[in-house]
């Protein structure tokens, strides 16, 4: 929102530099968005909730309250218009729901000419071109009060009536900028003699604008369904000063002030006679009140505001106090504050005008609550440290991938691109491309890992219950990953076996999967199996290892051989595969020194021979 400073000064006589004024606005919630430049116009950021900040007066009001300066409002034209005869009136019919209010006035015998300098200069500083006095006034009042108005030349109306209705399918309307629009029934228009002449709340048509030849015109201001305007303006790619305001919820009562002000200026600058015409307002909005308890103000701010201070601030913001006790204020919410919903919004207004920089700081003093950090969070962090200590580098990759035909993959309904149209089923999908990027740049001998969420669904039925998130660790390398897996399991103190169908199992429970270059562990299952501390031995014990060289009579996976060895030996600590090249298999068996390991070794060899026809030659 652009605020030309000399325009601002009409309503609030502030004697600060542009920089200081910008600082005040920033504190109020309107941050300076662009550099000050020559300091004549402030370009402020606008947030979506305050429609009154799209008006100079709305901004001036807040500034006046903050700076404790009186706000000076325009007089407006309070008198009722002349009574028009029946054939002088323009009948207004409303046939669509989107119009909440539509008020019109007629001006006859006006003189269209150039606007005075003060008017055109202000418009220009704001960023609007000067057209003629009447058109300029409608723009001026729109920027001043935040309520759009429109003027149409009576002689150019196709018929002596105006009808609000929804557009017909493919109905055409040419805007005053010369663009032809093709409409549909979701848009609503003013038509005259059946012809659409205005796209409601958005833009006027080419036919009926006020020009140098105009002598009589109809002025209107209305209140419309902002959601409909939002949809239509986006569809038609129209984004102008009117839409900026009408696509937000405005209060219908804003119409009165805007018309009054416009009337004042029109009579002053264009002369003529003013006649009331109509006011379609079937459901007048009643003002809302709200109560602010002093205790609530104290609770949220921690500051001992007095009732007097609270009242002063709210009154400066145009709240009207309707009831007052020693503990609370009941106020009528001003029509332009469509954002105030709850009592705490009044607290917000008071603190805002008090200025946040004046709020003291106070440390938390209530007792520290119970820790509710989930154990899995801590476990996964520990896993990260284990992997890093083994020399692996962590990556974080995106969850969105290209969709495919896998039945359990979750597809997005409104993805922007094909590359990001579904959710990943595994971490390996992305880690593989990280590795290939590395390889492209000549980085090899690297182990990477990610701990993250993967997603799957049970069925096509997209209910919340059939959608699953899984927590995984995946590690990947361009060489054999099994040493890393072994080290991780060793640190976690989880015994495991590898099966020929590529599962990692513990006591027959699957806790992960693997292939030569990557493995994936279910972190939740792993956590339940992992003890907290790696065992530390406080007394040295000596082990003895024997290497045995085996010859297989037929291809046999280690997962068939290991159980037999384990079963045959009571005190075996460890069996490792040193070399495996069919038909030879070289194993190292390790026992505690103080056991009958020779006996156990003999028993193992006997069983291997009888059960799997494996012969041996001790080394």
């Amino acid at each position: 929102m652009k605020i030309p400073i000399n325009w601002l000064q009409d309503y609030v006589k502030i004697e600060k530099s542009p920089k200081e004024i910008a600082e005040s606005f920033t504190a109020l919630g309107l941050m300076l968005d662009k550099p000050l430049g020559d300091g004549k116009v402030l370009d402020l950021e606008h947030r979506m909730d305050r429609s009154d900040w799209l008006s100079i007066i709305g901004c001036a009001r807040d500034l006046a309250a903050l700076e404790n300066i009186p706000l000076k409002l325009p007089k407006g034209y309070g008198k009722v218009g002349k009574k028009a005869t029946k054939d002088q009136q323009i009948p207004i019919t409303v046939e669509c729901d989107e119009v909440r209010r539509f008020t019109t006035r007629i001006f006859r015998g006006v003189q269209i000419k150039k606007s005075p300098k003060w008017l055109s200069e202000r418009l220009l500083a704001y960023g609007l071109k000067s057209i003629n006095n009447v058109v300029d006034i409608t723009n001026y009042v729109m920027v001043e009060y935040g309520q759009p108005l429109h003027a149409q030349d009576l002689d150019k109306l196709p018929a002596n009536e105006l009808t609000w209705r929804n557009a017909n399918q493919n109905e055409k309307l040419t805007t005053f900028l010369g663009t032809q629009l093709i409409l549909d029934p979701s848009a609503f228009v003013i038509s005259s003699g059946g012809k659409p002449i205005v796209l409601g709340g958005i833009i006027g048509g080419a036919e009926t604008g006020v020009t140098d030849t105009t002598t009589d015109f109809i002025l209107d201001s209305g209140n419309y369904d902002q959601r409909s305007i939002r949809t239509t303006s986006r569809k038609q790619h129209i984004n102008n000063e009117t839409v900026l305001r009408t696509d937000k919820f405005l209060d219908p009562r804003a119409v009165d002030l805007a018309l009054s002000r416009a009337t004042e200026l029109i009579l002053e600058l264009a002369g003529g006679t003013y006649y009331d015409n109509s006011d379609y307002y079937p459901h007048p909005v009643k003002s809302k009140s709200m109560t602010l308890r002093l205790s609530r103000l104290h609770l949220l701010s921690g500051i001992d505001f007095t009732l007097v201070t609270a009242k002063k601030i709210l009154t400066a913001l145009d709240y009207v106090v309707v009831e007052q006790t020693s503990t609370k204020l009941t106020v009528e919410i001003p029509y332009f504050r469509t954002d105030v919903e709850v009592e705490d919004d009044l607290v917000a207004d008071i603190l805002r005008i008090y200025n946040y920089k004046n709020i003291p700081i106070a440390p938390l003093t209530t007792p520290v609550p119970t820790d509710i950090t989930p154990a899995i969070y801590r476990f996964e962090d520990r896993l990260r440290d284990i992997l890093a200590s083994l020399g692996a580098d962590e990556h974080i990759t995106g969850s969105l991938v290209e969709k495919d035909e896998q039945g359990n993959r979750i597809i997005l309904e409104n993805a922007l691109t094909r590359e990001a149209s579904a959710l990943r089923l595994s971490l390996a999908e992305n880690l593989a491309s990280v590795l290939s990027t590395y390889q492209k740049h000549g980085v090899s001998n690297v182990v990477i890992f990610e701990i993250g969420i993967t997603f799957s669904r049970d069925s096509l039925e997209p209910s919340f219950g059939s959608i699953h998130e899984h927590r995984n660790l995946t590690a990947m390398s361009n060489s054999d990953i099994r040493p890393i897996l072994s080290s991780v399991m060793h640190e976690l103190v989880i015994s495991y076996d590898l099966t020929s169908d590529h599962n990692i199992v513990h006591n027959n429970q699957v806790i992960g999967t693997f292939n030569l270059q990557s493995f994936t562990l279910d972190t939740e299952r792993s956590m339940s199996l992992s003890t907290s501390y790696q065992g530390v031995v406080s007394e040295y014990s000596h082990t003895t290892s024997i290497d045995i060289s085996l010859t297989l009579s037929q291809p046999t996976n280690f997962d068939k051989i290991k159980p037999i060895i384990i079963k045959a030996s009571k005190s075996l600590l460890m069996v490792e595969v040193l070399e495996s090249k069919y038909p030879s298999l070289l194993l190292r068996l390790t026992w505690d020194e103080n056991t009958e390991y020779l006996k156990e070794k003999a028993h193992i060899l006997t069983l291997l021979l009888t059960k799997l026809a494996i012969t041996s030659r001790s080394v």
Binding site: T26, A27, L28, G29, M31, L32, P35, L36, M48, D49, R227, L299, L300, G302, E341, V342, D344, D345, V347, L351, R352, Y356, K357, I359, I361, A362, L364, T366, V368, P369, D371, I372, R384, D385, L387, A388, S389, G391, A392, E394, H395, I396, T397, G398, S399, L400, L412, N414, A415, L416, T417, A420, N430, V443, V447, I453, P462, F464, I467, E469
Partner: protein, 335 residues
């Protein structure tokens, strides 16, 4: 006696020669000269013992043995000395070694850990929530009813319209935790969020946020200001200059924005801070009474504050990465 004179002579000759030894090679030559079995001077003397009388043998023998022993010991000592000297000569303390390879944690993990450390110190738990969320937790309980512009369908990624989507902010973790726990609560929640954005160097369809909230009896905006002040000092240094201002967010009232003064231009305005002089860091406020109520907490008994910030810009600036796609696309290599 000639024999004894010979021994004394050899002894003093050896002593002189030993002093001049400055290399292991010369030492070996000296050893050979005196102790070699065949032609060494000591061996030769030992042989010539045979021709002596028994009385002379008994007298000379031990002297010769002692000399042999002394020579052996002094050679050994000299050898050790030369060894350690050569080690000392080889040792150049000014040669640094190359770093050994270690694994690294991702920059975002590192920053999250640092932040968690700060908050754990202040009694916060770390909370989590699902990435696929219900509209109820992602919008409704955050005071964002249907039709609110912030819930525009085009901004969220839907699994199934209108109710199941990928969470658009970590605030959904807040509503979940508020709905399933009773106060007092102090929680921070880092997490991945998703929006329907086209990817470029500063925007990604997924990004990290860091959320925090406190709900207890008597929580005021002063507590919020205090926590945020200390947090910013932790992140950016004790000399950070902060600006607190009113800012609107649907899920809080009063809402508050926190900016920090641009270090480069000290508030004057430059390209880094988009000429504003300040850089927006995070949004915060007192949790909206509608939100507390929707989560089953009575706002007349409890009050609370909440804050949320985007993490990626901070991570990228701390690690010198300019493109968010590289941060999460595997195009970072750990040095």
């Amino acid at each position: 006696m000639p024999m004894q004179n010979k021994i004394t002579q050899i002894k003093s000759e050896y002593k002189q020669e030993l002093e001049g030894i400055n290399s292991l090679a010369k030492l070996e030559a000296l050893r050979t000269k005196y102790l070699s079995k065949k032609h060494g001077l000591i061996s030769t003397l030992m042989t010539s013992l045979q021709g002596l009388t028994l009385k002379d043998k008994k007298e000379i023998g031990p002297i010769l043995n002692t000399l042999k022993k002394d020579i052996e010991e002094s050679l050994s000592a000299k050898s050790n000395e030369l060894d350690s000297q050569s080690q000392i000569l080889d040792y150049d303390p000014t040669i640094p070694a190359s770093p050994q390879h270690a694994g690294h944690l991702h920059p975002t993990t590192q920053i999250i850990r640092e932040m968690n450390q700060f908050f754990r110190y202040h009694g916060f738990s770390v909370g989590e929530g699902p990435e696929i969320e219900e509209v109820e937790y992602n919008f409704r309980r955050l005071n964002l009813p249907e039709g609110h512009p912030a819930t525009d369908l085009q901004d969220s990624l839907y699994i199934h319209e209108p109710n199941i989507l990928l969470r658009t902010h970590t605030s959904s973790i807040e509503t979940r935790i508020l709905s399933t726990n009773t106060p007092p609560l102090r929680v921070v929640a880092p997490g991945k969020c998703y929006r329907n954005e086209t990817n470029n160097s500063t925007n990604s369809s997924f990004f990290y946020q860091y959320q925090g909230f406190v709900v207890d009896k008597g929580i005021t905006i002063q507590h919020l200001k205090d926590t945020l002040t200390k947090f910013h000092q932790f992140l950016f240094g004790d000399d950070v200059i902060l600006r607190f201002r009113y800012k609107y967010y649907p899920e809080v009232s009063p809402g508050m924005g926190v900016d920090m003064q641009c270090r480069l231009c000290k508030g004057e305005g430059c390209s880094v801070c988009k000429y504003r002089g300040f850089i927006e860091v995070l949004g915060s406020g007192m949790i909206h009474s509608n939100t507390l109520r929707a989560c089953g907490i009575d706002p007349e008994i409890y009050s609370g504050y909440a804050f949320g910030m985007g993490l990626d810009r901070l991570v990228m600036s701390k690690f010198g990465i300019s493109d968010i796609r590289k941060l999460y696309g595997g195009e970072i290599v750990y040095k």
